[in-house]
């Protein structure tokens, strides 16, 4: 494997959790719900995946465990914001704080243990293709899931009737309700989908990226994923581009640190966060685009009139 291939591989590994979390949150926000608890769901997915992998001896079960953990955890958010109509911003923050705390507690028993790595599954024939075969078709299942998720979400949102209904809810939940669309039920499903994707993203961190458990190992990726959704103007194809861009930035600064360029490591580590701010500013500059693309009922409380 040559140098370019190696670098591209690391970029893809760095981008996958961002992509998964962002595509999940994109669906949630398209339905009009703002879930800021992505960081919390991701870390819960990470700890659940690691713990289950350790306890069962199977990284595959760990991955599924991470997915389920994320979905269940997101239900807490759903219950508070969709049934009890609590403030979405505050509840999302609460979810993150709770997730960081709970995962720290659960993970304590697993600190320092050597992790199980999820094995790559090569796709016959396609993985033989020179250069891209190794990159695209000889990867772990979570990577494949991330790509399928992007394609699937794109089809769902823009080519299916159910996706149209979801976008309608995001545009105006009062109008959707008046037309008989099941607003709360659809939003619950969207929130759980987002939770599942994010949980799986977290699993990727603890059983593929660095097969290990470290407290707070998400290091802000959940927040970056949220920024990615805004950056992508809520469109799946742009989420893909954004995630890989960020993957490149994260890897770039790691390599720069390794190269010993004389730039303090802390400055390089700060790059992804600064890049996130830059990206948000760039998107904000085009006010018209933001106004047109933002789901109009994002973050607003919905109480069905009966």
């Amino acid at each position: 494997m040559d140098m370019t291939q190696a670098i591209l591989l690391t970029i893809m590994t760095a981008a996958t959790p961002l992509l998964l979390a962002a595509i999940g949150e994109l669906v949630v926000e398209r339905s009009g719900v703002l879930n800021l608890g992505v960081e919390g769901m991701m870390i819960m997915g990470a700890v659940a995946a690691f713990a289950i992998a350790q306890l069962t001896g199977s990284a595959g079960l760990g991955a599924i465990g991470g997915l389920v953990a994320g979905a269940l955890f997101s239900l807490l958010f759903g219950f508070l914001t969709l049934t009890l109509v609590a403030n979405q911003v505050a509840t999302g923050l609460a979810l993150t704080i709770l997730g960081l705390g709970l995962s720290g507690m659960i993970g304590e028993a697993f600190i320092g243990l050597p992790g199980l790595k999820l094995a790559a599954i090569p796709i016959p024939f396609l993985s033989e293709i020179p250069f891209i075969g190794r990159l695209l078709f000889n990867q772990d299942p979570i990577f494949y899931t991330s790509i399928i998720a992007v394609i699937g979400v794109n089809w769902f949102l823009f080519k299916s009737r159910a996706g149209l209904r979801l976008r309608a809810i995001g545009d105006s939940h009062t109008s959707a309700h008046a037309l008989g669309v099941k607003v709360v039920r659809t939003r619950y499903l969207a929130v759980m989908f987002g939770g599942a994707c994010t949980g799986l993203a977290g699993a990727h961190l603890s059983i593929v990226y660095t097969p290990q458990w470290v407290e707070n190992m998400t290091a802000g990726r959940g927040w970056i994923a949220l920024a990615l959704v805004v950056f992508a103007s809520w469109r799946p194809s742009r989420v893909l581009a954004g995630a890989y861009l960020f993957g490149a930035v994260s890897i770039g600064q790691l390599h720069a640190q390794a190269l010993g360029l004389g730039i303090p490591s802390q400055f390089l580590s700060a790059l992804p966060y600064l890049a996130t701010i830059a990206v948000l500013v760039i998107i904000s500059l085009n006010r018209r685009m933001t106004l047109i693309n933002t789901p109009a009922s994002l973050g607003k409380s919905f109480v069905p009139e009966r």
């Binding site: 209904r165 309608a168 105006s172 959707a176 109009a296």
Partner: protein
């Protein structure tokens, strides 16, 4: 006369009742609609029309009584069941999605999974057939209010209903657009369909309806042939006793110019707002100038520019009592003696969750600093003075509320509007600008507010009223102008204005111009 034995009504209600707690929103309503009949449902705001119709469309469950369809009792449990039975409905407040296309909007209202292309084609065909042209690929956000209503109507027609319910359809149309709608209704009637036409506009009802049922406080107060009645007999059925006649409009000699707009052009503040173009207006002491126009033609933008919530570049573009105020904010304009009443009661004129006293401070803290605030730079709020003033306003305007100082959101529309208008009148403002003074307000409160506006003008103030309600405009204005696509027509004396002329001005000034989109569609 129809033979009663052989003609079963298409839809009939017997003793239909709806309770909300102890409130009888609908009380034993008997209604009968024959096939091929245009039936009016008359009543003012709060009479129970919307509740009745929601039961017919399956949005609410009746508490008592029964509904019969073609002579058989039915239970309509949901809008889907209503549609399946043969009832279609066009609500007053549209359920549309701005970011989606016309075809997608229609698809969402249909049951089943018909592909969007088929829906597109059907919609285009239907819309042309009924004289309501639509472009299925257009985004709703780009359409005018009249065009949006067409989507709602086409949505309903696609289900092939035998009864179509229309809730206040002409409140958002120009007189010419309304005429077009009436042609569509005539075609429906010719096809043997029935129409239940909800309105409080007596002239229209007399023009197009075969029969009318009048509601008041949830009960049926009359069932008649509107063509045999006079407007005042219908009004009496709707409102009970006499509503106070407005007196004194347009009398007296106007004095000096108190507020004027000079050649004002302002770009639109957001992609969906209307740009103001070349506005000229001057209003004198003692007169009420009404600005008529259909919603969405720049009324809010004009109001914001008059109030100072939106400042303009040229200070001379707006002058109050001769002073250039274009760059000055709303507090400074209030200090010069102006009062403002915006269109939206909740979340603009008042904060819904806050009590009335707080909402009093909201608009009067700058102008009444010496009375309501103390402590110099600290700005301590003088709760005693504020309470006294709030009580005074509620007494003068007869505001009905529960408790001493309830949240604004707990008042009915009419009472809150009385408070909001009274809040400004309490100051005897030299200039008052009001946007939609009686929208969604019951007749009693509406007449009180309109009289208060006239009285204010008589006492020497300049009053600007922006209103979509032509009846109101003719009732109170000394001069009338029309706003259309951000342009203002030259105001003319009310006595010489006709509805037809206003209608033409609403639709654009000359035959060549007017809504470009509508022209392109009409050209199909």
């Amino acid at each position: 006369m129809q033979d009663q034995q052989t003609d079963t009504p298409l839809l009939e209600t017997r003793g239909l009742t709806k309770l909300f707690g102890s409130l009888r929103a609908c009380d034993a309503i008997d209604l009968a609609i024959a096939p091929g009949e245009v039936h009016a449902l008359l009543g003012e705001n709060g009479a129970g029309k919307s509740t009745l119709v929601k039961m017919l469309f399956g949005v609410l469950d009746p508490s008592g009584g029964e509904i019969l369809w073609k002579g058989q009792p039915v239970r309509i449990g949901s809008p889907g069941e209503a549609r399946a039975t043969g009832v279609g409905m066009v609500f007053q407040h549209f359920s549309l999605f701005e970011a989606l296309t016309v075809a997608e909007n229609i698809a969402l209202a249909l049951d089943g999974n018909v592909p969007i292309d088929r829906i597109s084609e059907e919609a285009r065909r239907l819309s042309l057939e009924y004289g309501l042209p639509l472009d299925p690929s257009a985004h709703v956000a780009d359409l005018s209010v009249g065009e949006r209503q067409r989507i709602e109507i086409v949505r309903a027609l696609l289900q092939n209903p035998e009864l179509i319910i229309l809730d206040e359809p002409t409140s958002v149309l120009t007189p010419q657009e309304a005429d077009k709608l009436f042609e569509t209704l005539a075609k429906l009637k010719a096809e043997g369909r029935s129409v239940l036409y909800i309105s409080h506009r007596l002239e229209e009802v007399q023009r197009i309806c075969d029969r009318a049922t009048v509601l008041r406080h949830g009960k049926v107060t009359g069932a008649c042939d509107p063509r045999q009645e006079t407007p005042s007999s219908l009004a009496r059925m709707m409102v009970g006793g006499e509503v106070a006649e407005i007196s004194g409009a347009g009398l007296g000699e106007p004095g000096e110019v108190l507020i004027e707009i000079n050649k004002l052009s302002a770009p639109s503040r957001s992609p969906f707002a209307v740009a103001l173009k070349d506005i000229d207006l001057s209003v004198r002491a003692g007169e009420v100038v009404a600005i008529a126009g259909v919603a969405g033609n720049g009324q809010s933008e004009l109001f914001d520019v008059l109030s100072g919530e939106d400042r303009v570049g040229d200070p001379d573009a707006i002058r109050i009592r001769g002073q250039a105020v274009g760059r000055k904010g709303i507090s400074e304009r209030r200090l010069m003696g102006c009062g403002f009443v915006p269109e939206e009661r909740h979340g603009h004129a008042a904060v819904t969750e806050m009590p009335l006293t707080a909402n009093l401070v909201l608009s009067r803290h700058a102008s009444d600093r010496s009375a309501f605030l103390s402590g110099g730079p600290l700005g301590l709020i003088n709760t005693g003075a504020v309470s006294t003033a709030a009580k005074r306003i509620c007494e003068v305007m007869d505001v009905r509320k529960s408790g001493e100082d309830p949240a604004a959101g707990s008042l009915s529309g009419g009472n809150l509007q009385k408070f909001i208008v009274g809040r400004e009148l309490d100051r005897q403002p030299v200039v008052l600008v009001v946007n939609q003074p009686t929208w969604g307000v019951d007749a009693g409160a509406a007449s009180r507010i309109r009289q208060a506006l006239i009285d204010l003008a008589k006492s020497g103030s300049a009053v600007v009223v922006i209103s979509q309600d032509l009846d109101e405009v003719f009732e109170i204005a000394s001069r009338i102008a029309v706003i259309n696509e951000g342009r203002l027509s030259a105001p003319e004396p009310a006595v010489s204005m006709t509805r037809e002329r206003i209608g033409l001005l609403m639709g654009g000034f000359h035959d060549g111009t007017g809504h470009a989109h509508a022209e392109a569609i009409d050209a199909h």
